[in-house]
């Protein structure tokens, strides 16, 4: 019998698992994919929003501002890349000026620190590449950029290291409620837990439906992005937004913690969480909108396009409430879900406590994590790392300078990746301009060696993404 079963290990499920692993609880995490951070968590703008967008008084407003305030320390504890660089929302004329003063007022009410209204010239003094058409801007110094899947993986790893049990490839198919526990069918197994928390992202509605009738409908919203080469990474030094509209926060141009430039997203309603294709029309929208903010953005420097699906619903707020005495839902966690994640976990934990879960602290809990990042080291630190383990002396990913030592560390982490992209999300190999062209085959070889499985079984990403379809006529080197 588990105390809590968490369904879904994106950044919300992982944040909750991390929060609850501080307590003396038996925790089960059920994830349908072969790795954590496989949904919206791995395909979003990678921004910690300051919190001026949400309507004052909403849960979203409260949790966004709280989450944003918690994030810096959390990322430091977990060795997750995070930079508080601030953001600018741009206005183009009279209409936008009204919107900007509305969100400025929102921000004041929501408790967002340091907000400042700027003229177009003041904004251009901060970011010289902004369009001459910019007439006004809202500066929010507390906005930040983050490695979103890195946060999710780190939280899940620490939870697992502190005793939480993660079951991958375990899609939940049924939940039945008894008086004092629930029975959950997932991945062909049956589990019992006293409390269940639905953190299933875009698919939270279908999990909800297993025990109750949801009071909302999911409207999955897809957004496409360009990721630009590091040569463009310094184009702007803050997150550059446009005025929000009903469709969302609009197209942004921002540096990433990895040193690239991210440009996107658009917003289009799609059928489900699987609907992650990038369309030419979406790219055209992103291209035109980004050039409105930053005319000199050079999309020919693109190294990757991707699209993510957001868990928009018919509700304007997050839905974090129980549907019974045993089942809690964290549903409709759309933007700013990532920003709010640590606060959502805190709030969900309070709700569970109110439902009767005891949150007594676990003895010996260690909430921190360390990872070695060769590229971030000084020459002296690099020399010391190679001295300690010669594998840090072999660079596997040339573009990002990721060493074999870091890749092997990732493979032997508490949640071992089984795919090339799993290694990419942990160590960073393949993130760069050649997109794994050089290092892919070598990462595959290292994965097979370290996991002691045939190379043919190594995947690109989720189950089914096979790379090797057979041997050549003279056969594989390690057939």
């Amino acid at each position: 019998m588990y105390d809590v079963a968490i369904i879904g290990c994106g950044v919300i499920g992982a944040s909750l698992a991390y929060r609850l692993s501080r307590c003396d609880l038996r925790i089960l995490i059920l994830e349908r994919e072969n790795d954590v951070a496989m949904g919206t968590t791995k395909a979003n703008s990678a921004i910690v929003h300051a919190g001026y967008d949400p309507e004052p008084g909403t849960l979203m407003a409260k949790l966004n501002v709280q989450g944003s305030a918690m994030m810096e320390q959390l990322c430091a504890d977990l060795c997750v890349e995070y930079k508080r660089i601030g953001s600018l929302v741009l206005g183009f004329g009279e209409e936008d000026r009204k919107t900007l003063s509305r969100i400025y007022e929102n921000g004041l009410q929501n408790g967002v620190p340091g907000l400042q209204m700027l003229t177009g010239d003041q904004a251009r003094a901060l970011e010289p590449v902004l369009s001459p058409e910019v007439t006004d801007a809202l500066l929010a110094p507390s906005a930040a950029i983050i490695d979103p899947w890195g946060l999710c993986i780190a939280e899940a790893e620490v939870a697992v290291r502190n005793g939480a049990e993660l079951k991958l490839r375990s899609a939940v198919t049924a939940i039945t409620e008894q008086d004092d526990f629930c029975t959950i069918s997932a991945g062909g197994q049956t589990y019992q837990a006293r409390y269940v928390v639905n953190c299933a992202g875009v698919d939270a509605e279908s999990i909800f439906r297993m025990t109750a009738e949801p009071q909302f409908k999911t409207l999955p919203s897809r957004g496409a992005y360009y990721l630009l080469d590091k040569s463009s990474g310094g184009l702007v030094s803050r997150v550059i937004f446009q005025c929000p509209s009903a469709a969302g926060k609009g197209v942004l141009v921002a540096p990433t913690v990895h040193g690239n430039l991210i440009v996107g997203p658009n917003a289009e309603e799609v059928h489900g969480s699987d609907d992650k294709a990038v369309t030419a029309a979406a790219l055209d929208v992103v291209s035109a909108a980004s050039k409105k903010s930053v005319p000199s953005v050079d999309l020919r420097q693109s190294i990757r396009n991707f699209a993510g699906v957001r868990a928009n619903t018919t509700l304007s707020d997050f839905y974090i409430s129980p549907s019974s005495s045993r089942v809690l839902h964290a549903a409709g966690i759309k933007s700013p879900g990532l920003s709010a994640a640590p606060a959502i976990a805190e709030y969900a934990a309070e709700q569970l406590a109110a439902m009767g879960l005891s949150l007594s602290p676990r003895a010996g809990f260690d909430g921190t994590r360390q990872v070695n990042r060769f590229r971030r080291c000084t020459p002296e630190q690099k020399a010391a790392l190679v001295q300690e383990n010669p594998l840090y002396g072999r660079v596997i990913c040339r573009c990002e300078t990721i060493t074999e030592g870091e890749i092997v560390d990732a493979i032997h982490s508490p949640i071992p990746p089984c795919s090339i992209d799993g290694v990419k999300r942990r160590a960073g190999a393949g993130m760069g301009r050649c997109q794994g062209g050089f290092c892919g085959p070598r990462v595959l070889e290292i994965l097979a060696r370290e996991l002691n499985i045939p190379q043919k079984e190594i995947l690109q990403d989720q189950d089914g993404t096979i790379l090797i379809t057979g041997e050549t006529k003279t056969g594989g080197a390690q057939a």
Partner: protein, 422 residues
Amino acid sequence: MKYDVIVIGGGPAGLAAAHAAWQDGCKSICIVERDKELGGILNQCIHNGFGLHFFKEELTGPEYAGRFIDMLGETGVSVRTDAMVLEVTPDKQVHVVSTAQGYEILEARSIILAMGCRERTRGAIGIPGSRPAGVFTAGAAQRYLNIEGYMVGKRVVILGSGDIGLIMARRMTLEGAKVLACVEVMPYSGGLTRNIVQCLHDFDIPLYLSHTITDIQGRDRVERVIVAEVGPDRRPITGTEMTFDCDTVLLSVGLIPENELSRAAGLEMDPRTNGPVVYENMETSIPGVFACGNVVHVHDLVDFVTAESQRAGHAAAAYCAGHTPAAAPLLPLKGGNGVGYTVPQHIRMDNAKDGVSLFFRVRAVYRDARIVVRDDSGAQIAAYPREHLAPGEMESIKLPRVLLEKASGALTVQIEEGGDQK
């Protein structure tokens, strides 16, 4: 200790440069190679066709590399393999990391950059669609087949008609895969004519010119692609779509010189080649730092890489011996009508005693045209009639000293059609 020459990269460019520097008397030379073996990308190019110009015989890639590795074996050139250069400083320090020697800072009197190039990816060209497994750059697929011994698919569509894609069309076919089509967005092929004939025509693989992939479909592995004709603006034409059921897409959509070290060292770069700006002897904007091979501009034939790299090696040796050419008079070179770039970008007359060879690519296909070199005044310095010019084939011309001496100011290399033929 201070090396005479450190060569960064042990592919064909680095091998030839190091050998040439040794022949000219440099006694302490070190090649730093990131892979476990010398030879670079030649090691996975197991097809033949290499060496026709340089060795006057037909070799495979590994054989071609092997000749140079053997030649180096008879010299005192030292080699560090499995060692990655992390930084080159303007004062010629080379930061190297390896499992064997840890983190080292090597010093050199002269440096030769020979890091080669990398392939353009799906992201660089923005092919719409989903993101399943089964989309490979042609070179990555080549490595899986030829080095690892694994097949990467059964039904293949190739986007781009670069040479590696063409070679892989034949290679995948010989290994039992069905190559359904080679799709090229331009109205002409990006590869060598001999590869079009030997790799596509000989195996009845259709080449669709002025076509592109407009959609990649499939959740986990590629299931199909949509191919459409493109107009003169290279945008797809609605109504021309064709569907190919395939599990693999190979991309052969261009190569980019790999110059992160050069940029970080502060070398002047040429945005047209994506490589360093070089003088007639392959010297870069930092005296004593030379560059050669695909790191300067993308070549078609390794034989020409070898020749260029030997020039760099000889020049590095001359630099170590204290010969520094006078900076003036200087002839800048630029590409005019129909010429994308030139290498070198500058000629120091002091160092062009025997004239210079110029290398460049044309921007379009030309028949019965002339390569014309003019100076600032518009005066024709030289003209070279050509029956056929194509972007897929690098061009070279030799400018003798006597003609260079006639020029005033910058030289422009351009393509001229019609008019008076010489």
